[in-house]
């Protein structure tokens, strides 16, 4: 009867982006250290590992690699790059996990959508245009965004994207130009050009549908799902 607002949102964004030829790719939630960190330019013993709290899984893979629950959908970037040639445009939605204290805006599991565009047209300018277009079409109103200098190990330049929502600037996603290290980790030359963005789906859902607590999305409660009838 009723679709979950998270699935609804993923469909909407996929639909908005399909006009630009984006396909939707999925990746594993139980990930190896390599795809979640090292390939994304987050080496062991580097303070950048502190940027996210990780759920490490006790058993290693058969090959002895450390496993974890992926902390972001960015892990799909290198997996896809390894097996596909540019140019391409993909979205990678899915569940991600952070070992953080839970409250009204944070839960141990949530959903993200990754966007990855690898082609000569990719630039900070076309990145801005794409993000604006997605948010405008999703919220169905004229929205203003701004880029703020920031840092993610797998993009350079890296920015936080803020959106002006109901009179306040709020952080809505991270984005940037794909780092050379990521291309090389996928077996490419490193001279490729691409941009990437990662947005928290739960955040978008809470803003659009006025949901006060993220944990309501995972409660399996019809008093929540029936609201969306």
């Amino acid at each position: 009867m009723n679709i979950h607002p998270i699935a609804q949102t993923i469909r909407e964004i996929a639909s908005i982006c399909s006009a630009f030829g984006f396909t939707v790719e999925l990746g594993p939630e139980l990930e190896t250290e390599f795809y979640n960190f090292d390939a994304l330019n987050v080496p062991k013993d580097h303070p950048a590992r502190d940027m996210q709290d990780t759920f490490w899984v006790k058993t290693p893979t058969e090959k002895g690699e450390r496993q974890l629950l992926r902390t972001h959908t960015s892990s799909v970037q290198v997996r896809y790059l390894e097996t596909h040639d540019a140019p391409f445009r993909i979205l990678a939605p899915g569940k991600v996990f952070r070992n953080e204290a839970t409250d009204a805006t944070h839960d141990a599991q949530f959903h993200q959508i990754e966007g990855l565009v690898v082609e000569p047209e990719a630039s900070m300018s076309s990145l801005k245009g794409m993000i604006e277009h997605i948010l405008k079409s999703f919220f169905k109103e004229e929205i203003t965004i701004r880029f703020r200098p920031s840092f993610f190990p797998f993009v350079e330049p890296g920015v936080e994207v803020d959106m002006l929502f109901k009179g306040t600037w709020m952080e809505i996603m991270g984005a940037g130009m794909v780092h050379e290290h990521v291309f090389k980790a996928a077996g490419k030359t490193g001279a490729e050009k691409g941009f990437a963005f990662g947005v928290g789906v739960d955040r978008l859902v809470m803003l659009k549908y006025n949901i006060p607590d993220v944990r309501l999305l995972y409660a399996g409660d019809i008093r929540v799902t029936e609201q969306f009838a």
Partner: protein, 648 residues
């Protein structure tokens, strides 16, 4: 990094912009600001320094240089007090201090032995203490305060030993197995050869780069001191700091790879400050061991490369202007430009790094939005995601509502480390939580006028024999009698799914693992075979033009219990039951959450029709009492009687 506005101002001869304007500029061109607090006549600004810039910006000097580039006014001095002393100038004028480096994790160490006299009243020392306290640091003693000030000012961690408690000279070495070090805060550490220590001839005096020991602790009475300014391997400091569970301002800077270059300027600055705060200062001995390494690094850029990355047209002249603002030197080489940066900028190695420096100073707000070219394709390739979405659509059309439950549960085949108890294993199925959800939700059925709770979830499960698998799980629990899900219906749904999958070219038997537990019916199926075939099938499908049904804004449900009452009324045949619902609304008002018509019955040969309503009463503010509800019902009955309707 907490900085003081007045401390920052010391780097500039002209007044800085007002704190609000300054914070806006910093936010737009450099870093996020976590907080701004007015303290005394000062403002304390907490600048969020991320791992890329922690190599140079965990200091007032680093941030001052950023501000200088942003406001286009150069820094007037290299440190807050404009101390110009260079320790290298006295190196040959004093005896060498006995110093040895015996550890692979230390490549540069300077040791200065000196004497300090009485502190000058009302001078620089008072200002140093005031500035330290303003950013939340404690004042300990003049020597340690100077050391701490230098770290907060230019970023270099320093350590002070009481020379009277140091026997012989200083050796940087690995610890002995079982060697004990009592730290300054009286914590006893048992060390291993993995640890690096600063030691004298007899004892370990400090855990290198992390924490000082109590043995050679300085105090207000210390007159002879040894000043350490060194460089320790970032990875080593981070590992040992994590293992011992000790994180300090010093270890943070070392693990973020502060360059060896700063050790010498740190020692020089500290000694210069000691001389300003005290009379009778002497340098008694000095030694430096190791290499600082190259102080610059060069990378090459082209205006084409920078412009393409940013998506704006910038000529080489403009690019170089920004490089110069940041204190880099440039040399042109035809179409290219070699940019020389200080080697301690570990965030700058490639053209992309320079593009970021130029882009952020130019101002990202000035970069226009452009749209990528649209895609001409009408069809797209089949994909695993499309198929999962098709499964979702089938289940929704079959009146199942979607839920999403937790992956981390209390029991599973994969354990998760350091997770809260009860949420430390990966689920092996969805059915367990589905059953709980169905039973839990059955009690709320009346709120929504439901005869049956029917739910589904598409999500991952984890087993040792199959690894990570996507499963589809759907199930139902009846609320009213005879509303239990039949096997026939389940078969119907599965057949529909199988047919739909065939259209995608997938042959997959949705043989349900049917579970029946009393009235609960649950089906769980694995999508593994779908995934294996999905991306291989080169079929084309219609572009995803999902008919997005708009969904309403959420209003939070009431936490208070609801009360249900049924009412059945005979009205003359052909009469609209309007009067009944009007009465319900009139007397119930806001307390009526829902009323549902659940039965219509024509009594033979009576000329009357019976309408039966289920009324759900609930308040958003409190628990309703039976008495309140009885009262409302009585008024409704009274209305019905006055209209001549018979209440059953």
């Amino acid at each position: 990094m907490k900085i003081s506005y007045t401390w920052l101002q010391k780097y500039f001869d002209d007044p800085l912009p007002h704190v609000d304007e300054l914070c806006t500029q910093i936010t737009l061109h450099f870093a996020e600001i976590d907080s701004v607090e007015a303290v005394g006549g000062d403002w304390i600004i907490d600048v969020k320094i991320l791992p890329d810039r922690a190599c140079y910006a965990l200091s007032h000097a680093g941030i001052a240089h950023e501000v200088a580039a942003i406001i286009r006014k150069p820094c007037a001095r290299a440190n807050a007090f404009g101390v110009d002393f260079d320790i290298a100038t006295i190196e040959n004028a004093v005896p060498p201090y006995p110093l040895r480096i015996d550890s692979p994790h230390c490549d540069y160490y300077t040791a200065t032995k000196g004497t300090i006299g009485p502190i000058r009243e009302g001078g620089v020392y008072d200002e140093i203490v005031r500035l330290l306290v303003s950013i939340g640091q404690r004042s300990i003693n003049p020597l340690v305060d100077v050391a701490n000030f230098v770290m907060q000012d230019i970023g270099q961690p320093l350590h002070i030993f009481d020379a009277g408690k140091v026997h012989g000279g200083i050796t940087v070495r690995q610890a002995h197995e079982g060697e004990v070090l009592t730290t300054l805060d009286k914590k006893e550490l048992t060390l291993t050869p993995e640890d690096m220590v600063i030691a004298d001839d007899t004892h370990a005096l400090a855990l290198a780069g992390i924490k000082g020991g109590i043995k050679a602790e300085s105090s207000r009475d210390t007159t002879q001191f040894i000043l350490e300014a060194a460089h320790f391997d970032a990875g080593h400091v981070r590992r040992r700091s994590t293992i011992h569970g000790i994180k300090t301002d010093a270890s943070k800077r070392y693990e973020n790879a502060i360059a060896p270059f700063f050790a010498q300027s740190g020692a020089s600055y500290a000694l210069g400050l000691i001389e300003r705060i005290s009379t009778d200062v002497r340098i008694d001995a000095f030694r430096r061991v190791g290499e600082v390494g190259p102080t610059t690094r060069t990378c090459t850029i082209t205006s084409r490369g920078i412009s393409d990355m940013l998506g704006i047209e910038l000529d080489l002249k403009t690019c170089t202007e920004y490089a110069v603002l940041l204190g880099f030197s440039i040399s042109q080489d035809g179409d290219a430009c070699h940019v020389t940066v200080p080697s301690w900028r570990h965030d700058i190695y490639r053209e992309a790094d320079i593009a970021e420096e130029i882009g952020r100073l130019y101002g990202y707000e000035r970069i226009p939005s452009t749209l990528l070219s649209e895609s001409k394709q009408e069809k797209e390739k089949n994909s695993y995601w499309r198929i999962l979405e098709a499964i979702r659509s089938v289940l929704i059309s079959r009146a199942f509502s979607e839920i999403c439950t937790y992956t981390l549960v209390d029991h599973g085949e994969y354990d998760v480390l350091a997770a809260p108890a009860g949420r430390d294993a990966l689920r092996t199925d969805i059915s367990t939580r589905m059953k709980e959800a169905l039973e839990r939700n059955a009690q709320h059925a009346d709120l929504y006028g439901l005869n049956r709770i029917a739910l589904f979830e598409i999500g991952t499960v984890f087993t040792k024999h199959a690894g990570e698998e996507m499963h589809v799980c759907f199930g139902a629990i009846p609320v009213r009698e005879k509303m239990k899900l039949t096997e026939a219906y389940v078969k119907e749904v599965c057949t529909e799914l199988e047919r739909m999958l065939e259209e995608f070219g997938i042959a997959c038997a949705m043989t349900p693992a049917l579970q029946t537990n009393g009235s609960v019916v649950i089906v769980e199926v694995s999508c593994s075979s779908i995934m294996r075939t999905a991306d291989v099938e080169e079929r084309e499908v219609e572009k995803l033009n999902v008919e997005i049904q708009p969904i309403r804004q959420y209003t939070h449900y009431s936490p208070y219990p609801y009360i249900v009452r049924d009412i059945a009324v005979f009205v003359p045949q052909g009469t609209d039951p309007d009067a009944i619902t009007r009465s319900i609304k009139k007397h119930g008002g806001d307390l009526v959450y829902r009323h549902t018509l659940f039965d219509v019955f024509e009594k033979k040969d009576s000329g009357k029709t019976s309408y039966a309503y289920r009324i759900v009463f609930q308040s958003n503010e409190r628990t309703l009492t039976d008495a309140e509800v009885e009262d409302i019902m009585n008024r409704i009955y009274a209305d019905m009687h006055s209209l001549g309707y018979e209440v059953r």
